[in-house]
């Protein structure tokens, strides 16, 4: 069995390291493993597995949320978000820097992806903040950190994928992400405020005087975002729609917003659709490959063997999760977060369940892990997004994001010590019309 595991891991490292596309690399390891160690008709297994995954009904929300994010990216939503939030935070310690966090938090509630959140919010805030004399490093760091909320605060593409791979209710995962997401956003704001109190030179000296009239007026700027949040989250939590239907309603809503803001041109629509298609083929193939690899590993008995070896170490549940956290942090440096999760899940999920943690809790844990991977160099999608926006070097952006990485790591450890924070809502809310 050790030989089997060693072969699979070597194959995986060689193929992915050489630069074989992640989806094809995972397929190769699955096919190769079965070819070497099992005598069975692999092509049948492969085609049925692919067919079942790519036509799985609980996955339908995924392409729809990706399409929605692409449409929103081409609207003026981020500008109106900035104008709507700015008067409310101008007098907090840290001032407009908080728009990064609050903007990402609100945007995360309509977007399923973290890179899309960072790109859409950062497009406006980074320029506005630096032109007003805010510290560039803290602005980039907070955007990188807060952008990752796109995965934790529902809707969430990662949660949909985890739900499909682990057989967990996507709706329950969506509910579980809310409280940790808001707490994490608060931690970021607390950190920004503390930094600014300690070194006031990070923000421009004079504070604007904002009248209540201005604040009330500014609320209208938040209208489009509030409208979309209401459509997507409202329809789900109100029990009217499943996550999939909510995604379709969200696409419709974003088209409406786009029309209102006069950005609904034929060119924009085609661009958004083609861009979405390019992303979904990548994500779809990776998910299909991950499911096939999971099945292949199960045929080979790998998860059980690893579980037995880990059990022999007699780790406490907490030590096991702490070990996994370190493992994923390292993996997240070299791999993109989603790939890191899907290829390890067949092994790690049974381990964590055996240690007594809940499937939903582990989903939230993994989302946080993916978020950390988004901002760790050399491979971190949010770093790439901010690089595109600012033209800074990856190393500079990664250093700016590092405090936020630490906050996430501490936060994840706290959730491990107090799993109730995650489980509080999903345990209490019962919904109809879910998946």
């Amino acid at each position: 069995m050790t030989a089997t595991i060693a072969t699979l891991i070597t194959l995986l490292i060689v193929l992915l390291g050489a630069g074989v596309w992640v989806s094809l690399g995972l397929f190769s390891v699955g096919i190769g493993g079965l070819e070497i160690f099992r005598d069975m008709p692999i092509d049948r297994q492969l085609s049925i597995s692919i067919w079942n995954t790519v036509t799985s009904e609980s996955l339908i929300a995924l392409p729809l949320f990706i399409l929605m994010a692409e449409i929103i990216f081409r609207t003026r939503l981020s500008a109106s978000l900035f104008n709507g939030l700015a008067p409310w935070v101008a007098n907090l310690p840290g001032g407009l820097m908080h728009v990064n966090v609050l903007g990402c938090t609100m945007f995360a509630a309509i977007s399923g992806s973290s890179a899309a959140t960072a790109a859409t919010v950062g497009r406006i805030t980074l320029f506005e903040l630096s032109s007003r004399g805010y510290d560039r490093t803290l602005a980039m760091g907070s955007l990188a950190g807060a952008g990752t909320l796109g995965f934790l605060i529902p809707p969430s593409v990662i949660m949909i994928i985890y739900g499909v791979l682990s057989g967990t209710s996507v709706l329950k995962l969506f509910i579980a992400g809310v409280v940790p997401g808001l707490l994490l956003a608060l931690s970021y704001m607390g950190y920004i405020a503390a930094r600014v109190v300690i070194s006031p030179s990070l923000v421009p000296r004079e504070r604007p005087i904002v009248s209540w009239e201005e604040r009330v007026k500014s609320i209208f700027g938040l209208g489009p975002v509030a409208f979309l949040i209401l459509l997507v989250l409202g329809s789900m939590y109100g029990g009217l729609a499943s996550p999939t239907e909510a995604a379709a309603v969200g696409v419709f809503g974003s088209v409406v917003v786009s029309a209102f803001q006069r950005s609904l041109t034929w060119e924009n629509v085609c661009d958004a659709a083609m861009s979405a298609v390019r992303t979904i083929s990548m994500v779809g193939l990776i998910v299909a490959a991950a499911v096939f690899l999971t099945q292949a590993m199960a045929f080979l008995g790998v998860p059980r063997a690893v579980a037995e070896q880990i059990a022999a170490l007699e780790l406490s549940a907490f030590a096991l999760v702490a070990l996994l956290l370190v493992f994923y942090m390292i993996l997240g440096c070299v791999l993109e977060g989603m790939s890191a999760i899907v290829m390890t899940l067949p092994i790690t999920l049974p381990l964590v369940l055996a240690a007594g943690y809940d499937k939903i809790w582990f989903g939230v844990f993994l989302v946080l892990v993916v978020e950390m991977a988004q901002i760790t160099p050399p491979v971190g999608f949010n770093l790439f997004v901010i690089q595109t926006l600012t033209g800074e070097r990856i190393g500079v952006i990664a250093r700016a994001a590092f405090p936020f990485f630490i906050i996430m790591a501490i936060f994840t450890m706290l959730l491990t010590l107090f799993p109730e924070v995650v489980m509080f809502l999903p345990d209490r809310v019962t919904l109809g019309g879910g998946e």
Binding site: G17, A18, A241, S281
Partner: protein, 189 residues
């Protein structure tokens, strides 16, 4: 002064024409994938309206949406590959000298050709089986599965062809990946 076209030039021109055609097919398939995506959205919206306004479910909307999703995943695969949209780990290839990184790209592409060929074969075989045994879906629509499965197989074949085209481009020292929307990917003419 150009020399008169030798056999080599004619062969090279034919290969270029083939590469262009593969690009056009990939882009066309991706456009169909985009239409599938829009159709899924419309079907799901139809389902929401049907359930909330007329209190009845459109039985076919989930089923057809799932076929459209599969189609969208596979029809866009070749385009995704050509436009550099399929994720890969570039850590090593960026750290090593250009000749080594070129060798790694050759290796990856050859692995890619083998795997995509195997996937295309497996999906074509599944489609052929559905055709031979007249398999229909276990749903009220009784959709002949040869249709949605055939689309998947078609997408997988295009993915394989684009992978072969990538190999040819590497041999000819042409850039294997292009930006999306570039005129090089079959959107010209």
């Amino acid at each position: 002064m150009r020399p008169s076209p030798s056999d080599y030039d004619v062969g090279s021109a034919m290969i270029s024409a083939c590469l262009r055609w593969i690009d056009r097919l990939s882009t066309g398939a991706a456009a169909i994938a985009a239409v599938c995506l829009v159709a899924m959205t419309v079907l799901m919206l139809g389902e929401v309206v049907a359930r909330s306004v007329f209190s009845r479910s459109l039985t076919f909307s989930w089923e057809f949406s799932s076929y459209l999703m599969g189609a969208a995943f596979f029809l866009s695969a070749g385009y995704g590959l050509r436009t550099g949209g399929q994720v890969r780990v570039t850590l090593l290839s960026e750290a090593v000298p250009p000749t080594v990184s070129r060798a790694l790209d050759f290796f990856s592409t050859v692995v890619g050709i083998v795997v995509t060929l195997y996937i295309a074969y497996a999906l074509c075989d599944m489609t052929y089986n559905s055709y031979k045994r007249d398999i229909v879906s276990f749903t009220p629509t009784e959709t002949p599965l040869i249709i949605p499965q055939g689309v998947l197989a078609l997408g997988a074949v295009l993915f394989f062809l684009q992978m072969v085209a990538r190999f040819v481009r590497l041999v000819r020292d042409e850039p294997p990946d292009v930006q999306p929307g570039s005129t090089d990917i079959g959107t010209d003419q």
